[in-house]
Symmetry: C3
Subunit: 366 residues, 3 copies
């Protein structure tokens, strides 16, 4: 597991490495397992523990060495050091070896190769059930699946895939080779760059949450502030399932190049996210906050509004950021759980900390 390809579509080890040009620079030597024919087909890639005899596997760190003894993989990607250190195991098991300076990178390349090899060929063109505004500009190489809707003056570039049920509003602009999975919703005036991956359930450009008290209309009544801005997303951005990015109030909400956004993330109006920043699932970023380049934000973190977070800031999961951060580094704010009774005992003191500090000070002075 997982076997990816049928036997007759699968490469030998030699063919696999040849099919991945980047492997030339990484692989110093390779050999088919002594128990396998040179024509043995490699049908997939799996972890040491679950790979079967038709799969290649890999080892990225010495701590996994014990799994080498148990693997059924027909070949293993490893460093020269690990191969040497485990020479007897490798001989006993008889799997093939691919000696490589960066096994994790080669794993990623092999995985990508299998992913693309099994990808079904998708028919180009516009499905007859798609409803395209006559003023939209659709590249002939774009793939528009069933029940897609594209609004007025929207531009869909070469190689874009709009999977089924995706809706693009008016005046959107989608860069080449970007893929929208089924059921993405873009409101009007959303721009997405090239080579993006936008997963199912994503909503881009819904109204920012802008209200002002309208006491003339009654006690507590909120008046809506129209959200006139758009959303601008750079190149090479991936956006996970059910994430929402709201349109700006006046200026646009802006996502930089190479940003990676996991599932169920909320980015509010007028946020700006710097290039190559990555954020794990369930993060919420309140309005007008600017996050720098190359930051990482751990899952379930929240950032207050109107903050400025500099470049190269790394926020641990579950952390609340409520003030600006201008110094690169790692920031944390999560309290690990404890057995319930212990926690209750200690949490009760949380509400007395200020008083305890006073009492301590008093003792120190006496």
């Amino acid at each position: 597991m997982p076997v990816i390809l049928d036997a007759n579509e699968s490469p030998s080890l030699e063919q696999l490495l040849q099919a991945i040009p980047e492997s030339q620079a990484l692989v110093t030597s390779w050999q088919v397992g002594p128990q396998h024919a040179a024509t043995h087909r490699i049908r997939g890639i799996g972890p040491l523990g679950s790979a079967g005899v038709h799969e290649i596997s890999f080892i990225v760190a010495p701590k996994y060495q014990s799994e080498l003894e148990k693997t059924s993989a027909c070949a293993v990607i490893m460093t020269a050091e690990l191969a040497q250190a485990n020479e007897s195991i490798c001989q006993a098991k008889g799997f093939g070896q691919v000696i490589c300076s960066q096994p994790y990178l080669l794993y990623a390349l092999v995985a990508r190769w299998f992913d693309q090899a099994r990808e079904p060929v998708r028919k180009g063109g516009i499905h007859p059930s798609a409803i395209i505004d006559p003023t939209a500009d659709i590249s002939p190489s774009a793939i528009i699946e069933p029940y897609v809707i594209v609004g007025a003056r929207t531009r869909v570039s070469d190689g874009v895939q709009l999977r089924s049920h995706t809706v693009l509003g008016g005046d959107c602009n989608i860069g080449r080779d970007t893929v929208f999975y089924p059921g993405v919703r873009c409101y009007d005036r959303v721009t997405v760059g090239e080579r993006g991956l936008i997963h199912s359930g994503v909503v881009l450009g819904a109204d920012g949450f802008g209200f002002a008290p309208n006491p003339a209309a009654g006690v507590g009544v909120w008046g809506k502030i129209a959200q006139l801005g758009g959303v601008r997303i750079g190149h090479d951005v991936e956006i996970g399932a059910n994430t929402t990015i709201d349109r700006g109030a006046l200026d646009d909400t802006v996502i930089g190049n190479g940003v990676k956004i996991d599932n169920q993330i909320m980015i509010a109006h007028n946020c700006q996210i710097g290039d190559h920043t990555a954020m794990a699932a369930c993060v919420g970023i309140a309005g007008s906050t600017k996050v720098g380049a190359r930051c990482t934000i751990g899952g379930a973190s929240m950032l207050s509004g109107h903050l400025v977070i500099g470049d190269d800031v790394h926020i641990s999961g579950g952390t609340a950021i409520t003030t600006d951060i201008d110094t690169p580094g790692r920031y944390t704010g999560v309290l690990p759980a404890a057995p319930h009774a212990d926690w209750q005992r200690n949490a009760a003191v949380m509400g007395q900390l200020s008083e305890l500090r006073k009492r301590l000070r008093k003792l120190e002075r006496s």
Copy 2:
């Protein structure tokens, strides 16, 4: 409120109990309210406080006894003890009584009966607007609603309902009697067992969040790790609205039998959730974490990645789990709110705790 059925479709108390075979073992006696004819129709079930004269109600604990005096229900499910303790009230109010060892269970059975009685008859077969790959295998008893899409080689078993706009990718396998509410998205290679309930907006099998630094392509650039695994979901699983479960990187993401997952939950790639575990809304579980069987996870909790949580672990709402848990029991990590000024005063000390401990130690030694 809520009246469920029209009068002419509604049962008398006798007919209602007869229609629920399980009630035989639970009900020791019952009687129509002295003010009602034996033919009085029961059109729904409601709480004591809001049930009307055409509804049955129930009382599950002595603390609700005071509501008996006010109820308008035509009959009340209760234990013999509570009936005896409230004999005068029952007589004065004149409602019918169903004496029963487990009133909550009987309520659940009655509610289920009304729910099924009002469920519209849905037409079998495939709506002409559904787009089914010719290689898909659809049971003749499945119900495929408008604008559904089913991919290549996907199997849809007997009695499955795919409500409108649901999308199944290729190589999916859906077990019998599972219901997908409108607008569920399954990517390729997702398996769902029998009798599942998958609510609107759920996304199953989107790419796990897997990236590796790719410095050769530029400072901070992320390279995508293809996500080759699938999602495997057991029998009798309910998944709440807008929840996302990502596909595995190599092996599958696995959800056990009888697992109950509320709304807006995020389960990352390669997680494994044990049988009969239940988790309340807004929980996030990071990649590769294993949760045991029969656990409960309170709302808005977050679990870090690569953890192992044993069986029968109960996590309070709002708790962050950052380490393995191998002992059954309840774990907590949420700090209750306080009036703002109090909180500010105490939270400020949080950043000095280590120093305070030192000062205390110094005092102790002096």
Copy 3:
């Protein structure tokens, strides 16, 4: 940025103010910038920093005065006090001025005017691809876009817009002028009042999360409690993208008038939200909790189930509410992050607080 309208559709300053009747009461005087002709067209509205020469701007507080020197806007909305204090800058820059008692309110009115001016005219009537149950009651002035589905006996009032792919179940009731953006899902028996805005990906009326242990069926097995109630939403409610509001178990889940709900919020079964309460993104409210009127709930806060929160309670972002609150005021419970090492040092003491208190007490007594 953002230019909104084409030049030939755009008003002069005089025409703009005339087009907004409410401006009469707010504006004490206005003048076209000396460098602009009286016929200069105003094509949009922007912040001081990014507005161009075809846009009007505004200044809401003295702290933004420095931006007046840099703005390119052709006119600025400001108070008489700020105009006087910046007289020389205003003259030097030569922008027009709109002197107004409440600049923020006038900004909101101007923004709303531009928003409506650019809104495309939408064709009334029912798109032929929409599937409407013959027993549904659709106003002739409603707009039903492609791939919409409307269930049995559902009522759609005057001026309602059901954008593409929206699904309404049976027995729903939608008040006049309410707009559903693309891809909203309503289950059966959901009521939405007048003038609502329901954003993409919202799910209304999915089953509440109700289960009871069913030991007869096996260790740990959960039995489902049918969710018989509905969802009732008042007038003038906005619901953000991908928010979910579950149906009640017996009674309805109820959202009051004028409530504003941001994105990715979860409101569980049987909650009641009071009029004009506003909640920011990523809030979760567990089952049966009642929130009063005119409350505000900061982003990523969580409220436990079965609580009663009074009127005029303001909850800071990231706060966990686990007990009733009956006194108006602001409540907080979020710990701000710190540099990782500092946090680790202090968080470790969190698990010793109770013991530290004991040691302090001992010292005090000695």
